[in-house]
Amino acid sequence: MKKDITTTIDNVEAKEKIEGSAKYTSDIHIEGAYYAKPIRSSLAKGLIKSIKIPSLPKDYFVVDESDIPGENVVAMIDDDWPVFAANRVEYIGQPIMLIVGPDKAKVYSLCQNVKITYAEETPTLDFGQPEKTLKFHKGDIKKAFKEADEIIEYDYETNYQEQAYIEPQGFIGYPENNGVHLIGSIQCPYYVKNAVKRTMAFDDDQVRIKQAFVGGAFGGKEEFPSLMACQLAVAIDKIQQPIKMIYEREEDMVVTTKRHPAKIKMQAAVNRDHKVTAIKSEVALDGGAHIGLSEVVLSRSMLAVSNAYTIDNLDVKGHVYKTNTVPNGAFRGFGAPQMIFAIEMFIHHIAKKRGLDPYQFRMKHLVKQGDKTATSGIYRDPIIMRDMIKKATEMSDYHEKVKRYNQKGSFKGIGMSWFLHGCGFTGSGEKDIIKAKVRLKKDSDDQVYILVAAVDMGQGAKTTLRKVVAQVLDIDIEHVIFDNPDTLYVPDSGPTVASRTMMIVGGLLARAAQKLKNQWLKSQEQTVEEIYEQPSYVKWDQKTMHGDAYPAYSWGVNVVEVEIDKVTYEVNVKHMWSVYDLGKAIDENIVLGQADGGQAQGIGYGMLEVMQHKDGRIQQRNMTDYIIPTAADMAKTKNIIMDNPYPLGPYGAKGVGELTLVGGAPAVALAIEMAINRPLRKIPVTPEVIMEAITDA
C-alpha cells in the first residue's frame, strides 16, 4: 500500500540551506560584475527642476528614463508605475535613476553627491477622491435595515505591515542573446519577464528570468521585483556588463510595497431575534502613490466581508485612494487580514452591545454547506467548522477560561477567530488571466523533470510538488527533479501567490503525472502538458462581483491566550491553538510550519508590528525600529489539521499559505480586549494603545 501523502518527508532543500551552501541572489558571484544603486526622491511630491551629477570616472554610468528603449512603465494590473521618475516625483523614495559602476563604495559615494532640486508641491496624505471603487450587494439591504430592531455601527482601522523577509530584495543579471538574463529573489518569474519585455521592447527570446533561492517573500516579492528587474535590464542593455543590485535593509524597508493601511466602516441591521440580517460595509485602502495591484487587494478585502458567517443581505463598497506615500501591494492574505480583523471584532462588538454571549451569537451565524457566499455564489463543499471549533475550544479549554478571565482586573484573556480563505485567483482570474500551463518531461533514464514557474520561497513547494508527482507516478522522489524555475525552460504556470501553488499548479501536475503514467514508455523521452480548466459550475461576473468568487475555500480557527503586565501593559502571549481545514495536507510538517509562521505574522500584525509614515516618510527604517516577533515573543502552538478533501485538488488539497495568517490579528486583539475589558477597534494593539484604552474609559 502507498504511504499516506500527508506523512512527512525531509524537506528537499533543507540540507543545503542549513549548511549555508544554498545560493541566494546576493551569494551569486559573477567576476567583474558592476554594482547599481538607485537615486531616490527625497520629496513626497513635486517637479524635478534640476539634477546635478558629479563628474563620472571611466566605467561609471547614470541610467535613467531616457535610456528606456520601450515604455517607462512596470507592467502590472494598473500600468501606473514608472520604471524611473521622468520629471515629477510622487513619493519619498521613488527611484529617479541608477548610478552604476565597478566599485560598490565608489558607486555609493557618487550617489551621495548627486544633487536634485525640486519645485515642491503639496502632497496628498489623506483620503480625497478615490482612484478605484468597487461594489457589490446581496439580497435586499434596504428592507433589512428598514425592519431592523437595532442598527449598530463601528469603524475599524489597520495600519501598514511590512513583509520583513530576512533576505532583502535583489537581482543580478548580464547581457545574453541580444537581451538580458536576470537572476533574482522573486515569486513570479513570468511577471518579471513580461514587465521587462515591455520596458525594453524586447521579444520573448531576449528576456530570460531565473529564480535564485528566495529568503522569504510573503507577497513582498510578487510585484515589486518587476520594478527592480526593469531598471536593471535598462542598465545591462546600456552598459553591456553583468550588474548586481541588492538592497540594504533600510532601503528595502522604506521603498518596497507593504500591506495597505485600511479604514473600514461596518454597519449592521439586527432583528429582534438577535440575528444580523444585513451588513453595510465600506473599505478604504491607502494605495500609496501608484495603484499597481491595489484594486485586486481591495476586491479580496471586500469578499471577506462576511467571513465565516452567512449574512443574507450585504452592501459592500470599497475604494483605493492614491496618496503621496510608498506604494502598497501584495502581502500574504492580500486584503483579507484587514477585513477579517474588522468583521471578527464587529461581530463581537454587536454581541456585547446586545448583551449577548459572543460565542453563541457567532455560532448562530456560522456558515453551513449550501449557504450563499457574500457574492451569492454557493458553498458547495462540506464545511466542518463546527467540528473544528469544538476541537479548538476543547484543546484550549476556551469556555472555562472565558469564565475565569472575563472578570475585571484579570489582565488575562483568551481570543478566538474563525475565518476562511478563498483559494486561487479571485473570480475568473485563473481562467481568463493566468491560464496556467505545466509540463512534465521524462528523459531516457526515466528521470522526471517538473517544469513549472512555481517558486519555493520557504513554503516547501519543491518538496510538496515533487511528492505529488512521485506519488502519482509511483516512483521514488529522487527520480523527480524540480530545479529553480528558469523561463527559458518552464511554461507559465502562473505566479506563486494566492495560495494557488498546490491546489492549482499541484492539481495540474497530478493530472499531468497521471497522463504520463498512462503512456509511460521505459527508457524513452516523453513530455506531457496540462492547461488549467475552470470547473464548469464556477460562474463569476467580474462587473457586478456576483457568483463564485473562488472554486474552493480553506477554513481555520485560531485561539490565542494572553496575559498583560499590569504596569507596562506589555502583552505576553501564553499559548496559541489552531485548527485548519485545508482539504488534505500534502506534507504534515510543511503545513504545520506554515501554520506556525503564518500565525506569528498574524499575531505580530495584531499586537507588535508598528509602521507609520510622517508627512510621507516611513518612520521605521530597520529591524530595530520595526519589531517582528522573536522566539521570546512567541509561545507554544498546537495546530490540528482536519482532513476534508476537495475533489478537484491534488489528493484533496486546497490552499494553505495565506489562511494561516488571516486569523491571527483578531484572535490576539480579542484576547487583549478580554484582558483589559475595553473595546479595541484598531491594530496593532501596542502597550500604548492599551494604555489609551484603559485611561480613556
Binding site: 549548511e19 558571484h29 522569504g216 510550519g593 506556525d596
Partner: protein, 157 residues
C-alpha cells in the same frame, strides 16, 4: 595597507587590508564564504552570526581592525563537526528551516546555546535564540529541533 593575521575555519590567514571594512564583507566577497547572510546590517537579525574566539558575534558589526589574532569560525567551518551533523539532522526532522536565510545563523546560535547549556529548557532556548530573527517558522519547529539535538547528541555538548 596594514597587515592582519587571524585564523579562519582552522586556517591561518594573513591580509593587507583596510581596517574599517566589515568582517561580513570580507567573508562573503574575499573568501566567498556566503553561508553568513546579511539580513539587516546592524546586528539585529543574527543572520551573519559567526564565532570569534568562541563568542557568538554578528559579523556585520565587526571591523577588520578588531580581528587581528582572532580565531574565527563560520558555518562553513562548523559544518564539518559532529555537533553540526546532529543539529542539522534535528533541524531537518523537525522542519526548522523554511526559506533558509536565517538558518546558518540559527545553527551558530544553537551551537552556542548548547555549548553553554547542554540541557536547555524551552525558556532557555527562546531567550538563547532571541538575537536571531526568523520570519517563516514562528520559531516552534526550531525550538523542537534544538530539544531533539540536545537529546540525540547527548554527551557531544
Amino acid at each position: 595597507m596594514p597587515k592582519i593575521t587571524f585564523t579562519l575555519n582552522g586556517q591561518k590567514e594573513a591580509l593587507n587590508t583596510r581596517l574599517d571594512l566589515r568582517l561580513l564583507d570580507l567573508l562573503r566577497t574575499h573568501y566567498h564564504l556566503t553561508g553568513s547572510k546579511e539580513g539587516c546590517g546592524e546586528g539585529e537579525c543574527g543572520a551573519c552570526s559567526v564565532f570569534i574566539n568562541g563568542k557568538l558575534i554578528n559579523s556585520c558589526l565587526v571591523p577588520l581592525g578588531s580581528i587581528n589574532g582572532a580565531d574565527i569560525m563560520t558555518i562553513e567551518g562548523y559544518k564539518h563537526t559532529e555537533r553540526f551533523k546532529v543539529l542539522q539532522k534535528a533541524f531537518i526532522k523537525e522542519g526548522g528551516s523554511q526559506c533558509g536565510i536565517c538558518t546558518p545563523g540559527m545553527m551558530m546560535a544553537s551551537e552556542y546555546l548548547l555549548a553553554h547549556n547542554p540541557n536547555p529548557t524551552e525558556h532557555d532556548i527562546r531567550h538563547g535564540l532571541s538575537g536571531n530573527l526568523c520570519r517563516c517558522t514562528g520559531y516552534n519547529m526550531i525550538i523542537k529541533a534544538i530539544k531533539r539535538a540536545a537529546k540525540e547528541g547527548k554527551g557531544l555538548w
